[in-house]
Amino acid sequence: MKPRLFTLGRLAIVSVPALGFFAIPFLPFAQEPVLWLGLPAVLVWSALMVLLSVVALQIVEVLYLRAGGREADQQEERFATQQIEQIRAARIAAEESEGVR
């Protein structure tokens, strides 16, 4: 069975940087003109959250691959364009025969 990419645990991991962004207006350094290393603290914090997002997604990817995602990638069906067009035509024909169209 194909492993699920979306799980609540993985959602929790990517929520960390997302919450880091949404928290910005309420953090003390966003209330005062604060500079870190000569740069606005809000900009530095945002850049850190960008990097944390990349890290979070790398962790999620590793977890997915370990849970069977690697095999799922290898076995992924890849149809030729012509096949996909035939699939579409068959779907539309099926819909017409069922009165959907």
């Binding site: 990419l5 900009l43 959250m49 960008v50």
Partner: protein, 487 residues
């Protein structure tokens, strides 16, 4: 005059790159999604298209000029969007491949088993994209006008760019857009680096700029600027994250459907947040402009006016060409999004050759309309709120349809989308004051209420989960399996 010629030549070269293909794409399918085999880098540049647009070039520096560091909301929403798209994009591609989608309209039509729902979504999607298309063309004209100081160069560049976009989209489809997207992103990064270098030379370093701002306009380093308060930051970020995470802009579907594999999409989503770091440069330019430009400077003109102050003319020309490419690539993707929705989902059943003819006609009409609005300086740019507000209303339905089983019917979904879109339209056209709130976010409330109530009524009347139309395996289709044999 020399600068005008340089920019027009640059625009023509960008267009020529888009057309530079011996073979015209004749099939609607390969025109829209190629061979569905785009590797990582091609997908990267196509997917990154929304990060570096005329908004990054003109809008973001302007927001930083007026609102200070609150402009980082763009970095926030674009980054968080990739956190969502990591999960959503591979799922959309999987359905697209298994059930033969070319458009967002196909997805709605199939997942909810409703032709009319596909039509409604396509009509709303296509209409919502027109202001966005006009914004790109107007933005291009503004860039050229600011760089050259010539109003005639503005109009001429808009006409030339529109014709070129129509030509290369019609000729090459997604492949042409991908070629130009690569050039665009390289040019945009170069332009940003050039501007940053100019700033560093002019001010003696980036920290010096911020130290000066801390002395002269400290409020800009906080989120306490009028109109750019925490409510603005949270609502603007939230509504765009909801929309972008569920890929609600119809013109962003072909790059997802054309990717070679789910792994390509996951890989791009993992790394594309890094790209958003480039956006700190226009934000910095906007903040630095506070120290140089008059207070009443129009926001959209800040970045190019600053470029004119700190850079020599020929470098301003290069920055302007980069800006023009930042308009042409999204414009080409948008016009493709409009034409495929109208041709495939609104008009529908036609022979393949006739379908392409109609498609070309829609391209010409869409670009012609956007150009006409742009040339007469009609302010439908203000209607851009409709683009994001209305398309965000698709998000709940897309989320429902991404599940294995679709548990909500077409009618509740259709009614909820119409209710949400109408709310956005009423707020926009009636000018209802909503403070720093986003109309799209407000409209999600009636959208969800209608969805829940209508679905409850449907269930009470015996409605059940949507049964998908049975699909054949590709092998059986290729072997000529009949429809009856498939179900």
């Amino acid at each position: 005059m020399t600068l005008s010629i340089m920019i027009v030549v640059g625009i023509v070269l960008i267009g020529a790159l888009g057309v530079a293909s011996r073979r015209r794409q004749k099939s609607m399918s390969t025109w829209t999604v190629g061979e569905r085999s785009n590797p990582k880098w091609t997908s990267w540049f196509l997917q990154a298209g929304e990060s570096l647009t005329t908004f990054s070039f003109l809008g973001l520096a302007g927001i930083a000029f007026g609102g200070g560091v609150s402009a980082t909301f763009a970095v926030a929403y674009l980054t968080i969007s990739w956190l969502g798209l990591y999960f959503v994009a591979p799922r959309i591609r999987e359905f697209g491949q298994r059930r033969g989608y070319l458009t967002m309209g196909d997805f709605f039509e199939d997942r909810f088993r409703s032709r009319w729902l596909g039509r409604v979504v396509s009509v709303i999607g296509a209409l919502a994209l027109i202001p966005y298309l006009q914004l790109q063309i107007t933005g291009l004209g503004l860039i050229v006008e600011l760089a050259t100081g010539s109003e005639s160069a503005r109009g001429l560049s808009m006409v030339i760019a529109s014709i070129l976009v129509a030509l290369f989209v019609a000729w090459s489809g997604l492949k042409g857009i991908a070629r130009v997207a690569i050039l665009k992103d390289i040019m945009m990064v170069v332009a940003m680096v050039v501007i940053a270098a100019g700033l560093m030379i002019s001010f003696g370093g980036i920290p010096e700029i911020f130290a000066q701002i801390a002395r002269e306009a400290p409020v800009l380093l906080t989120m306490q600027v009028d109109g750019y308060d925490p409510v603005f930051f949270i609502t603007a970020t939230l509504v765009t994250v909801i929309g972008s995470s569920f890929n609600t802009l119809p013109h962003l579907w072909p790059p997802v459907l054309a990717a070679k594999s789910a792994e390509v999409l996951r890989s791009n989503a993992k790394w594309l947040p890094i790209y958003q770091l480039v956006l700190f440069l226009p934000v910095t330019v906007g903040l630095a402009a506070v120290l140089v430009l008059p207070e009443d400077t129009t926001g959209n003109t800040v970045l190019l006016t600053m470029s004119g102050v700190i850079l020599p003319d020929w470098l301003v020309g290069i920055v302007a060409i980069a800006g023009a490419s930042a308009a042409m690539v999204p414009a080409s993707a948008i016009v493709m999004g409009i034409s495929t929705l109208i041709t495939r989902n609104v008009i529908g059943s036609m022979t393949p050759s006739r379908q392409m003819t109609v498609n070309y006609a829609v391209i010409v009409v869409a670009i012609g309309l956007a150009l006409a609005f742009g040339l007469v300086r009609s302010d439908i740019g203000a209607l851009l709120l409709l683009t994001y507000g209305c398309t965000t209303q698709f998000a709940p339905a897309i989320a429902i349809a991404l599940a294995d089983r679709v548990r909500v019917g077409a009618w509740p979904v259709g009614l909820s989308i119409v209710a949400g879109s109408l709310t956005v339209a009423v707020i926009t056209f009636a000018g209802i004051p909503i403070g720093s709130w986003d109309s799209g976010l407000i409209a999600l409330a009636p959208n969800l209420i209608v969805l829940v109530v209508a679905e409850a009524i449907r269930r009470a009347r015996g409605g059940r989960d949507v049964e998908q139309v049975a699909m054949p395996s590709p092998d059986r289709v290729a072997a000529g399996g009949s429809v009856s044999a498939l179900s």
